[in-house]
């Protein structure tokens, strides 16, 4: 507790190993009251382990976990006062909807009359009035997950933990329930930690996203920051799509810095801060950051001449693949702008500040790692 602010959930230096394999390393995160925070990453990145450590199902090997300023390491899950929704719904199959939802109230010794009232209220909240006497087997996947959400919310938990709650649903239901989650979060204002591998879910639901990879945090930021200004190579490639150019840094006499690819493509860089001439680097640019036009432009922008090699119509936008100097550049443009045909000569350009430059690691034997 260094700052003056008390977080609803605070993880400090959390580390977890299984048989010497690091699953989560030095994880630091503070979740504010009412915030919706997503842990996003590929499977095996440690996001579920982190959630299970907050829930108390797994003990961290190091670091501390606090809820509202109180350290809860070692406190068993049933004494943490949390709500949790699981990927597999995990409803009690031998209990009716009503009994499922009432379970947490019974364990907390809530009086009978109040249980009835609160169960009714939360079933209304998830729009399942009239389903109280069904058993889970006779509910659809979406209904089951709504029961699971109701069961988690009914006890007014301090924190709501969501463990990939949408991934077992088909595409349409998933979208529907995503809206439902958003609405519930707006209505209840409950502090929520959400684990997902689906970037769309994370981008659309979260106040902040924690992108994780190999047990470590790659970047924490608002959805806009994560998508618009990815700070690492991983975030660039994991979220959305990116163009990657591998090349060597050259510094011209006028102090202009370029990266030249093996095929001779020259890319202008915005700053010279982190690289020197001769460095091997990767340059990442989002397809949305690239614009194409029929003729070259004036000004200090990276400009690449090429030809349209492929195009895909995607409704509101069109995706072009532009071939130039042996590279393929992916470009996404809104459909109201100019249309091009296959083989049209075009110029691609982007603001060098939109590109991320990352030095390539040199392996021990002198070869470059991708």
């Amino acid at each position: 507790m260094t700052g003056s602010r008390v977080y609803d959930v605070e993880l400090t230096g959390i580390t977890k190993r299984y048989h010497e394999k690091i699953v989560v390393e030095d994880f630091n995160l503070g979740v504010q009251r009412g915030e919706f925070v997503s842990l996003l990453g590929p499977s095996g990145c440690g996001k579920t382990t982190t959630l299970n450590m907050i829930a108390g199902f797994i003990d961290p090997d190091g670091g501390s976990i606090s809820l509202k300023g109180r350290v809860i390491n070692g406190i068993p899950p049933h004494k943490r006062g949390l709500g949790m929704v699981f990927q597999t719904y995990s409803l009690f199959p031998h209990m009716s909807v009503r009994e499922n939802v009432a379970y947490g109230l019974k364990t907390h010794r809530v009086p009978k009359a109040e249980i009835i009232e609160r169960v009714d209220r939360v079933l209304a909240l998830v729009r399942l009035e009239g389903y109280g006497d069904r058993i889970p087997k006779h509910l659809s996947g979406g209904q089951r997950q709504r029961v699971a959400i109701a069961r988690a919310l009914v006890t007014d938990p301090q924190i709501l933990l969501l463990d990939e709650p949408l991934s077992n649903l088909d595409a349409k239901l998933r979208e529907e329930l995503r809206e439902e989650l958003k609405r519930l979060h707006n209505e209840t204002g409950i502090t929520t930690v959400f684990v997902t591998h689906d970037q769309e879910e994370a981008l659309s639901l979260s106040d902040r996203i924690v992108v994780m990879n190999l047990g470590a945090i790659e970047q924490i930021g608002t959805p806009k920051e994560i998508y618009g200004s990815p700070r690492t190579e991983f975030v660039h490639t994991f979220i959305g799509r990116s163009n990657r150019f591998s090349g060597t840094v050259t510094v011209a006499r006028n102090q202009q810095v370029h990266v030249t690819t093996a095929g001779g493509l020259g890319i202008e860089l915005a700053s010279v801060a982190d690289v020197i001439g001769g460095d091997e680097v990767n340059v990442y640019v989002r397809p949305e950051a690239v614009t194409i036009s029929a003729a070259p432009l004036d000004g200090h922008l990276t400009q690449i001449d090429g030809r349209i090699q492929a195009m895909t119509f995607l409704g509101a936008i069109t995706e072009y693949t532009v071939a130039s100097h042996g590279e393929k550049i992916l470009v996404r443009v809104q459909n109201e702008s100019d249309r091009f045909q296959l083989d049209d000569p075009v110029t691609c350009w982007w603001d060098p500040r939109d590109a991320l430059v990352v030095p390539r690691k040199v392996a021990a034997d002198g070869t470059l790692a991708a």
Binding site: G56, F57, I58, D59, G74, P76, P77
Partner: protein, 283 residues
């Protein structure tokens, strides 16, 4: 859910079963093995094993035991295969009823079932009285208190194991294989011989091995249906332990029996497991 309580939970849950296993299984098995190595003078020695292997009579018993085991195993295969195949080819309530009829007799005590066969096979039994009243025979056939009666009892006792082993194997067969065979011009018998039968080899193997090992260690049926004239390894052991009270020799025989089982199982399995078999059914 700390690491400690997890370990404690595992320990508490497993403790009763493990204590039982250790005290009533591992410990007595070990001390029994030691007893089999006890010589008549009291010290340790292989006397009991030597006594068995140097006497032709005991070799004969061993041979007869293995023969009865092999005949029973093959008989259960021949009789059980049609039942298992019928189970696999039917479904719904038909399969349910057959499964029930296969399993239920097997769950009633072997003593009761053998008693039933005493009534069927005896001199005044169902078969002999029927044949005599039909005038086909003048004197009752000797169906009981010999190897034949013993094998009949064994087949009845263990056919359920064979059928279940075969059925488990036959259930796995993709019905489209038979269709593919018939499109390619194979008739019923050919489809059976070239598709169903080879694919059920694992079931046949496990059924044979299981029935054989069950038979050669059984002593109730040889006592009841074989009588004093049929001496097999298991009845020999039983006599040494409970009647002659020669425990070192009795235990030695039972370990020889166990070793025989393992040997036969290994040899039969090896014989079955050709290179192709391993490729097709191997893990």
């Amino acid at each position: 859910m700390t690491i400690f309580s997890r370990r404690a939970a595992i320990a508490v849950l497993l403790a009763p079963a493990l204590v039982l296993l250790l005290g009533v299984f591992i410990l007595p098995m070990f001390s029994m093995f030691v007893t089999s190595l006890t010589s008549p003078e009291g010290g340790l020695g292989l006397d009991s094993y030597a006594r068995f292997f140097t006497d032709g009579y005991y070799w004969g018993v061993l041979g007869k035991t293995a023969t009865i085991g092999a005949i029973t195993a093959v008989a259960t295969l021949v009789l059980g295969y049609p039942v298992a195949l019928f189970m696999a080819r039917s479904d719904g309530w038909v399969r349910g009823v057959i499964t029930f009829v296969v399993i239920v007799p097997h769950l009633v005590s072997v003593v009761i079932r053998n008693f039933g066969w005493l009534m069927v096979l005896g001199d005044n039994g169902v078969i002999n009285s029927a044949l005599m009243s039909l005038g086909w025979i003048q004197r009752p056939l000797q169906l009981l208190y010999n190897e034949f009666g013993t094998i009949v009892g064994f087949v009845d006792s263990f056919i359920a194991y064979m059928i279940l082993a075969l059925a488990a194997s036959l259930y796995n067969e993709d019905p489209n294989l038979a269709r593919a065979g018939s499109i390619l011009g194979a008739g019923r018998l050919r489809r059976f011989l070239t598709i169903t039968l080879p694919l059920s080899l694992p079931g046949i193997l496990s059924g044979l091995v299981l029935v054989f090992s069950l038979v050669i260690s059984s002593f109730i049926t040889p006592i009841l249906l074989g009588g004093p004239r049929v001496t097999v390894m298991a009845t020999l052991t039983y006599q040494q332990i409970l009647i002659t009270l020669d425990w070192p020799f009795g235990t030695a025989i039972s370990f020889i029996l166990l070793a025989t089982t393992l040997l036969v199982v290994t040899v039969v399995t090896r014989a079955f497991e050709t290179k192709r078999y391993k490729e097709v059914f191997g893990a």
